[in-house]
């Protein structure tokens, strides 16, 4: 057990625990806050994987935007402070079974894979993964097309979201 391993195990445990809370807690606001915790855990995982950029972006995008949006959505879609009634549907045990099966299946399949015990190679000295990432994103030989497609997707989603969420009865926003 090295320090890194301990840190990983702690982070993973916290993350999984908060993820569990996300899917089980009755209070949806709490679920969203647990989601924040989960996301933070994932961000730390990225940091452990030497992907600092991903970690920061995870915080900016997921916590700063997506989680906030969830909280907004939760608040906008209910009338009471507390959530009433059961939060899981009647067939939840089937779902649980399926989830466990999926986990089992995944782990089982991974188990037979030789690469499971690979250890990470040392980061090359002087290797700046952010520069490499930037190059890869906009280099014509690499991923500029997916990048552009993703940006178009974002634009479309933006327009679509505005259109869908716009309340035709409330009319012009200036009124």
């Amino acid at each position: 057990m090295t320090t890194a391993q301990i840190i990983f195990l702690v982070v993973a445990a916290v993350t999984l625990a908060s993820a569990f809370m996300v899917v089980t807690t009755r209070n949806l606001i709490h679920a969203a806050l647990w989601l924040v915790a989960t996301l933070f855990g994932v961000a730390v995982t990225y940091a452990l994987l030497d992907a600092g950029f991903l970690a920061v972006v995870q915080v900016v995008v997921y916590i700063g935007a997506i989680a906030i949006l969830f909280i907004f959505a939760v608040m906008l879609t209910r009338k009471e402070m507390r959530d009433q009634g059961p939060q899981l549907n009647s067939g939840w045990w089937i779902s649980a079974l399926l989830a466990v099966l999926t986990f089992g299946g995944l782990v089982g399949m991974l188990w037979g894979w030789r690469g499971m015990d690979t250890l990470a190679s040392e980061m090359p000295v002087g290797f700046d993964s952010i520069n490499a990432l930037g190059d890869a994103l906009i280099s014509p030989n690499a991923f500029v097309l997916p990048f552009e497609v993703a940006s178009v997707l974002l634009l479309a989603a933006l327009v679509g979201a505005v259109y869908v969420a716009f309340n035709p009865r409330s009319g012009d926003s200036r009124k």
């Binding site: 990225y46 994987l49 959505a73 986990f103 015990d117 250890l119 990470a120």
Partner: protein
């Protein structure tokens, strides 16, 4: 040092939890929360494979970034839909939104 398998199992667990959330929660917003968990699980895998593979090949990180973008788009549209549905049907329980049946 941490073997790759730890990350993969961690991700698989996160994924399964997300899956459970998606399948079991009644609230549509909560379903979307589950989806986010699943996406994050995938992202962990992407990042891990990047780190444990050839570090100079940025594919893993690039796709993680693209997943971020997709997730943002998905949440924006998904929540907009939920709010829209809530406006017209006054409920966000997924089971009660079943107009599209035979």
């Amino acid at each position: 040092m941490i073997p790759l398998s730890w990350y993969l199992i961690f991700a698989a667990g996160l994924f399964s939890l997300g899956l459970f959330g998606v399948l079991a929660r009644r609230n549509a917003v909560a379903i979307l929360l589950g989806v986010e968990l699943m996406l994050n699980a995938v992202n962990i895998n992407l990042a891990a494979f990047w780190r444990y593979g050839n570090v100079a090949d940025m594919t893993g990180q690039v796709f993680a970034i693209i997943v971020f973008a997709v997730a943002a788009a998905e949440v924006a549209v998904g929540l907009a839909l939920v709010i829209s549905v809530y406006r017209s049907r006054n409920t966000v329980v997924a089971d009660e939104i079943d107009m599209l049946k035979w």
